[in-house]
């Protein structure tokens, strides 16, 4: 079990959360100008590092807000200091 630090509710069991994958994936600024290649990048390609990963979680069974953490994908160690403590609500 991972203890995931919700910035609003504190550390909770991972079963309360929904995984959102890589953080900071931005929708293209000018969609009309995007090439097929770049649409593919945006839609289908995400980082998959063995090590530190900056990712999104939603506290689905709690406050229902999205937040960012940095997690080591080998040890599952979560570093809330970098990002998660900057609590911000993000609409998707």
């Amino acid at each position: 079990m991972m203890l995931i630090p919700c910035p609003w509710c504190g550390p909770r069991n991972e079963i309360e959360f929904h995984y959102g994958g890589q953080a900071e994936v931005r929708y293209p600024v000018d969609p009309q100008a995007v090439s097929d290649e770049d649409w593919a990048r945006f839609l289908f390609f995400r980082d998959n590092p063995k090590g530190m990963f900056t990712e999104r979680w939603s506290h689905a069974a709690g406050c229902r807000r999205w937040f960012t953490v940095r997690r080591d994908t080998v040890t599952n160690e979560i570093h809330p200091d970098d990002g998660a403590s900057n609590a911000r609500t993000v609409t998707r």
């Binding site: 079990m1 994958g21 593919a40 289908f44």
Partner: protein
């Protein structure tokens, strides 16, 4: 050859089946990853294409990755033509593989039931049966009574929260003993003069422009004209060293076994909706698997709640399992693509070939992968059966979308 009784023959000790040579400084082809896919590819490169100056480089021990961790279900009842073509080719190869390798693979065609629990699933399943038949894949649609006849221990009562409304049935599907499959290939490769090198991790590539001319390893550099990736969940780690991005995400996938039980479970049962798959190994363990953990991970360990859900589903479908003890659980690292189909083919780098994204279902494809990937490597051109599984499909949009269509949810 006398007929084989499953389980009657024990193989030789794996230590005696192949040598452990020192790596040479160059080979005609190098295969990265000594799982089932790497071994099968080397086998067909040697057998079908006469290329025997090959090394299979394995960072751990031979076939200790997902090959040793999977639930060994083999079937070819996929919906789309592209998938059916590839998996059915593999299943046909499985049917002759034990004889060909002269090694007991304990390949048991005990059939697979894919359960349907909702009206939509019934419609999808019937559609898949029809598609399978058009593709020459054996498939039938069964009502709950027929399902109960094939698998009497399954709870087909209409009172379940998600009752069994029927199932697809592929009689030629089944299971095989994964370790034996790897050892059978390894023994054959050793005899053909292929170097199987364990404890040798590929850490990077040697390049001349956009051409890959060798690999860097923990046991020194090795030069070669052809580098074929077969590293399953770790492909991103290798591709990253070249700046090559791949549309895959690595996730934990867990399985578990019970203690040894008398034969109770005659077939393989899979359920997409309540999500569990179960068979009984030759020795007697119940072998159970379910879905991936949601998060990316290379930890080879998933969360307990995933196991809990899987057990809940299993006990509802098989009430008698409530008394079985779990002996052990484990995890693998599987690479999942956005369309749930594999990537097999050429890369933007000359001399570099990719085989990844088999996710939760690549054991069944093992001989088929070997056959098609060997062709791709030998001819610098995909085999017709793997042409649709190119990396370019994510740009062209010609996806092979087996999500949901395949009868599993991942």
């Amino acid at each position: 050859m006398p007929p084989r009784t499953p389980g009657a023959e024990l193989p030789e000790h794996p230590d005696w089946l192949w040598h452990s040579p020192e790596p040479k400084s160059s080979y005609d082809a190098v295969i990265v990853g000594g799982g089932g896919h790497g071994l099968a590819t080397a086998y067909y490169l040697a057998k079908n294409h006469g290329i025997t100056n090959i090394a299979v480089l394995e960072r751990g021990w031979l076939a200790g990755g997902n090959m040793a961790r999977n639930t060994t279900i083999i079937r070819s009842n996929y919906l789309w033509d592209e998938s059916a073509g590839l998996y059915e080719h593999a299943l046909k190869l499985w049917e002759g593989l034990a004889d060909e390798l002269d090694y007991p693979l304990l390949f048991s065609q005990r059939g697979v039931l894919n359960l349907a629990h909702s009206l939509q699933e019934v419609r999808d399943s019937v559609r898949r049966v029809n598609a399978n038949r058009l593709n020459g894949v054996d498939a039938e649609w069964l009502d709950p009574d027929q399902v109960a006849e094939i698998c009497p221990i399954l709870n087909t009562s209409p009172d379940l929260r998600y009752p069994v409304l029927g199932a697809t049935w592929q009689p030629r599907a089944g299971i095989a003993k994964h370790d034996h499959v790897a050892w059978g290939f390894a023994r054959a490769l050793d005899r053909m003069g292929v170097d199987l090198i364990q404890g040798c991790e590929v850490t990077g590539f040697e390049r001349v422009g956009d051409r890959v001319v060798g690999v860097e390893t923990t046991r020194g550099p090795i030069r070669t004209g052809k580098v074929a990736l077969a590293a399953a969940g770790h492909t991103s780690v290798l591709a990253d060293t070249l700046g090559l991005r791949l549309p895959i995400q690595s996730h934990p996938l867990q399985a578990l076994v019970s203690e040894l039980l008398e034969p109770v479970h005659p077939t393989v049962v899979m359920s997409n909706s309540v999500h569990v798959y179960v068979s009984q190994a030759h020795k007697g363990e119940l072998v159970l698997g379910a879905g991936i953990d949601a998060h990316n991970s290379y930890s080879q360990r998933g969360a307990f709640h995933t196991i809990e859900r899987e057990m809940t589903a299993a006990v509802e479908l098989f009430p008698m399992f409530a008394r079985a003890h779990v002996l052990r659980t484990w995890g693998g690292v599987v690479d999942v693509t956005p369309d749930a189909s594999a990537i097999m083919g050429l890369t933007p780098f000359e001399g570099l070939y990719v085989n990844c994204g088999w996710g939760t279902g690549g054991f069944k494809s093992t001989p088929g992968v070997g056959w098609c990937y060997a062709h791709t490597i030998a001819h610098d051109e995909p085999h017709p059966l793997n042409a649709a599984f190119s990396l370019e499909r994510f740009t062209t949009g010609a996806l092979v979308d087996e999500h949901g269509a395949a009868g599993v949810a991942h």
